[in-house]
Symmetry: C3
């Protein structure tokens, strides 16, 4: 269920690299949140540099053209799960996609059981099918 939106710079990755990026983020999400394997909903946006600004909150991160911003909408996860998700993401994105950990930003927004319908016009978490 998490709905994951990724934002990258236009033409910063090949189609194959985009696929690897999405696969990697999904694998990390599975490991951190323990949801069903086919609970995969991802949208990737490419932006012109003039339309996409990411500084560093004065933390010293130097952002490159490979910067990845990840937005997650999810039912509640514990603080520990989120911290684990961030740590794993940084590690796996570096290992599998060559993304410098300084080029990774993540933001999560939470909602609840009744806020999801995956198909058929049914709220599956409420109806008991999930």
């Amino acid at each position: 269920m998490p709905l994951i939106k990724l934002h990258i710079h236009k033409d910063s990755r090949t189609t194959e690299e985009v696929g690897t990026l999405l696969d990697t983020v999904h694998a990390v999400m599975l490991a951190a949140f323990g949801v069903p394997e086919r609970d995969r909903y991802q949208i990737l946006f490419e932006h012109d540099a003039t339309h996409f600004v990411a500084q560093d909150t004065e933390l010293g991160f130097v952002r490159s053209d490979s910067f990845v911003m990840i937005e997650v909408v999810s039912r509640p996860r514990s603080r520990e799960q989120k911290i684990d998700f961030y740590r794993r993401l940084a590690s796996r994105l570096k290992g599998d996609c060559g993304v410098d950990p300084a080029d990774l930003m993540i933001s999560i927004v939470e909602n609840n059981d009744e806020d999801w319908s995956f198909g058929d016009g049914v709220a599956q978490f409420v109806a008991g099918s999930l």
Copy 2:
């Protein structure tokens, strides 16, 4: 006030079909949430298949190129209103737009009165004009 973002596959619909899709979603929202008729704020995004992944959470939904993902940001709505919204959406999108109910996913995020300004730099729900 709900802000509604729709995600579809690139070139999956004509401009006329996009218009019908947006009209239908708006009509359903009015019926389910009972807001003013001109409380209409919609953005539709088209995505390349390589940039848009929607599986099925192992619920058995077979997604086609006509898949529609709908994100809603709204002040709080009751569980019953949301369930009604999903049910009506599936029915009307099938009837008016030919969207298979298996091709419909919805996610809602809530905020509050002070989180909206519709114009003039005023928070209308707080100021009492709504």
Copy 3:
């Protein structure tokens, strides 16, 4: 930290005007929320008119091609801060960007400390580095 997404009509502004718009929104955010100056995360989307609908909730606003919709994701801000943000935005966007206050809509969604990682896979607000 606020993540700010802006939506405008396609080709409604030059690249320079887009830059001024983003700079102005950032300056207002700094003034209203009192965050670090380099706490700047902005994405601007351009939409075809067929894909972007913004009516007026029957408040009488006449929207033009210069309409700007602003989405903000932020840790909690007080009602007073939000009202101040809206008021300043309307004023500065008019003064610096020529945006009619009737052409401005804002929507805020809140999250919490553990919902942000700015780099290195660390939740900086939790880890104490922010």
